[in-house]
Symmetry: C3
Subunit: 379 residues, 3 copies
Amino acid sequence: MTNTTAPAVGIGPFSRSDLIVLIGALVLTVGAGVTAFVPSGQVVPFVLSAGAVALLASVVGRSVDQLGDRFGPGATGVLQSALGNLPELFIALFALRAGLVTVVQAALIGSILANLLLVLGLSFVVGGLKHGVQRLDSHRARETAVLMVLSVAAMLVPSLTALMHTPAEGHETTLSVITSVVLLVLFFVGLPGSLRRHRSSDAGARPGSSDEAVVREEAESEAEGPHWPLWLALGMLVASAAGAAFVSDWFVRALEPAMATFHISEAFAGLVIVAIAGNAVENVVGIQLAAQNRAEYAFSVIINSPLQIALVLAPLLVILSTTLGLTPLTLVFPPMLVVSVALAVLLAVFITFDGESTWMEGATLLGLYALIAASFWWG
Amino acid sequence: MTNTTAPAVGIGPFSRSDLIVLIGALVLTVGAGVTAFVPSGQVVPFVLSAGAVALLASVVGRSVDQLGDRFGPGATGVLQSALGNLPELFIALFALRAGLVTVVQAALIGSILANLLLVLGLSFVVGGLKHGVQRLDSHRARETAVLMVLSVAAMLVPSLTALMHTPAEGHETTLSVITSVVLLVLFFVGLPGSLRRHRSSDAGARPGSSDEAVVREEAESEAEGPHWPLWLALGMLVASAAGAAFVSDWFVRALEPAMATFHISEAFAGLVIVAIAGNAVENVVGIQLAAQNRAEYAFSVIINSPLQIALVLAPLLVILSTTLGLTPLTLVFPPMLVVSVALAVLLAVFITFDGESTWMEGATLLGLYALIAASFWWG
Amino acid sequence: MTNTTAPAVGIGPFSRSDLIVLIGALVLTVGAGVTAFVPSGQVVPFVLSAGAVALLASVVGRSVDQLGDRFGPGATGVLQSALGNLPELFIALFALRAGLVTVVQAALIGSILANLLLVLGLSFVVGGLKHGVQRLDSHRARETAVLMVLSVAAMLVPSLTALMHTPAEGHETTLSVITSVVLLVLFFVGLPGSLRRHRSSDAGARPGSSDEAVVREEAESEAEGPHWPLWLALGMLVASAAGAAFVSDWFVRALEPAMATFHISEAFAGLVIVAIAGNAVENVVGIQLAAQNRAEYAFSVIINSPLQIALVLAPLLVILSTTLGLTPLTLVFPPMLVVSVALAVLLAVFITFDGESTWMEGATLLGLYALIAASFWWG
């Protein structure tokens, strides 16, 4: 996001940050591809494919934004919602094909925890140390937070039922599918509203818009970056999506031997490693914004991600896993994942309603993230 | 509540809405009475008695208000608190006589869920679609919400003890009775304060005032409806209360065969059917207010109901069930009911503190209600 | 705190309240010492040592404040944090030496509950009855509340893991020690910030400052009390700390026969008796402030205490108990203690965000405290 602070210096239609991400993605993807087929130990292919996933996720996001600009803000919202989580979706699907249900469940929750504890904590620490107490007092943030807590609560109903309501035993899959349908309906029902508001100046919570997009849109309104021609945007999207599909496959293949070598449990791998790799670029963006003293935006970006996971990614995976004949994914998460995510969501809402952030709050969030991650070390 | 928007058109002391409710109540009560003794299948007596219960509840409420007006606002508060929940109390007592403890427990929690998720959700959707973002930012709403969460928390102590504290095993009844006494003491201790505030313009939370009364009082200050003479108010109260007692009996008798016919579990019947029948009129009022863009009032009415259930109805039933020799009711609710009500109360507080309501929030509340209800399908 | 309202009337360097506390502490300590060695039943030594602990805790606090004033506000913060909880630390260490782990765990949680439910409730009732609705709407209160909920959440991670995450079974001690280290690091990391803010007028949450100190500091800025010379402050600190050490020993020794005589469970003894004795003076201060219509200050004092327990006292006890070879204390609390403290912390945050306090809210908090205490009667 270097173009937000300085005039864009790039080549042709690409800004400087575009170029860095593109070249990095290309190099790492090739490297991951070579090591996926040439014997090269357990560590190198794992690290290369993790890096490639992270950068390709960013390229997909940039292509979607450029493409959306051609069709007006309405289409951007729909496209971003549909395609923004594509890389995370690919990883989860390949992991489900490999039978790694625990990894996928932990990665879904881990993605929420990483956003609400790790990234929010880092952005509070960085922002607080550089700029002192930062204000977060917008209606937009509160609305997003309330919608997030409602959506995550709905996503947790099957888990709560499985834990607490013995008569429903044996119906976990049915209830998970019903819940997924309800969540997807809420998402599609919310889209028109999110599109309408997209145009107005005081944009409210948009349940479907990708995190990076919110930032980039704002960034562009300040220092308009170069536009990609339609053919380039489309081509980049297809290429990066295809690349993400291959790289996700390699990443999942490299994950299992790496887990064995380093004695990492499935739960810890999903909760920490997969969750961070799949959100790396978004995470950097949130922290950069806090460092630029744009705490409100950082917060919106960070808190919007769990909303997307609950309303789109998790239900989509449940439905795809059953229809595609993969290992079926349910929304019945292990109890400690349920408690952790409930805690994280609750604390995030309190912080939103607090209206201010300090670096000490950030440090405590980081401590909490470290402790929850530590508790999953014993998988 | 037609007299809130148009000049009252009625006959003698009765407003138009009075007449509709009275005639409906009379017709349905007679119908329910006939089908209760003449063989008429499982469905007809159940539907008729459910409708009669709902309308008689409204007649009781109207009589109490008219009666209260004779004795000043202080007496109204006390009367409303004592008599407002009479029909729900009758249903619960007859159900306890029939040994349907699960139904009664589920109906108590279901009544809270119906208010905080279903009715609040509907009022947000209706209000939001008609009027856009609605504001809820009053001290009164916050105070009621905090008092509600505190009261429900106290009501849940026996359940939490039974679930979490094995040394207290076997003392569930003792702890339920102690809790009921504490809740009733809190209610009576809070009455004088609620009466005092009743007179001031900026009325705070009134733990004992009936939902409809809050609305009607406000409505009357705008378009004063006709007053009933004392003898009429007293007569109507006695008649409607007696009617409610009979109809509640028939409703509970019709419930069991209806449950068997449609394969409905006791928990689902209580949580959804009894809870909605017992609150039908109040619910309509809340939604009407939201449609009239009086979101603050709708919210106060809706959020006040769980407060009454926790402070009056639930503890009264515990004490009556043990003293009257019915199947004893404890406050040890099944775990999924505890989790559901905790979730609903928590979310309602977040929404209050948010200060705004959108129709998307309403839709998510409805989704959550549907999912929790679905999870109890397997009773 | 009589010097807050009237000019100090004392002898030499001692204010009137100093004298009352000193003489009381001296008398009770001597009494407790005599009855500890002379046979005198079960009740008298217990009551005398409990009273002596409470008053010596106050003398330690006063000495630390006087000492801190010599070295500037920075040192005061560090000293208060390090020494303010000394008496509670002594009691816990002696109890752990006697193998009373349940008592210590219950006392830690009980201290939080006593502050957030009992003392907060009493201060709302007293303040509300004397002054009507009191406002609590400061950023400082919100910030402290958020930091408190975050810290308590971190402290609860080992308990949640033990309850919810079977694969981590057998690693409770490891996770407790890791958690304790993280909490202490957060405390020390937060100290410089708390010192810096100490100087500014709009002082934020200070994770390490003792409760009484906050009050006394404020009090002194209004009516400057007499200062103790350095030698006196040091001498009083050493004497009162040594006294607290002895008296704590006698208190714990008297506790066991008293529990047996009155059939009090370990959990109830810790949760109610030890928790109240260890916080008695702080508690009185909070209620006095509310009675003086200084609700904001009362609230800050009361809500700061759980923060200290989570960040300093609990982790220090875990680490000392393992390094000193006492019965090891873990942060794996019994489930009902976890639920109770989670509930209390949650409700305290809601009340903070409410921005107003009424005596009815206070009464409900008292009811909740009584019910939770009652549920632990069956230990």
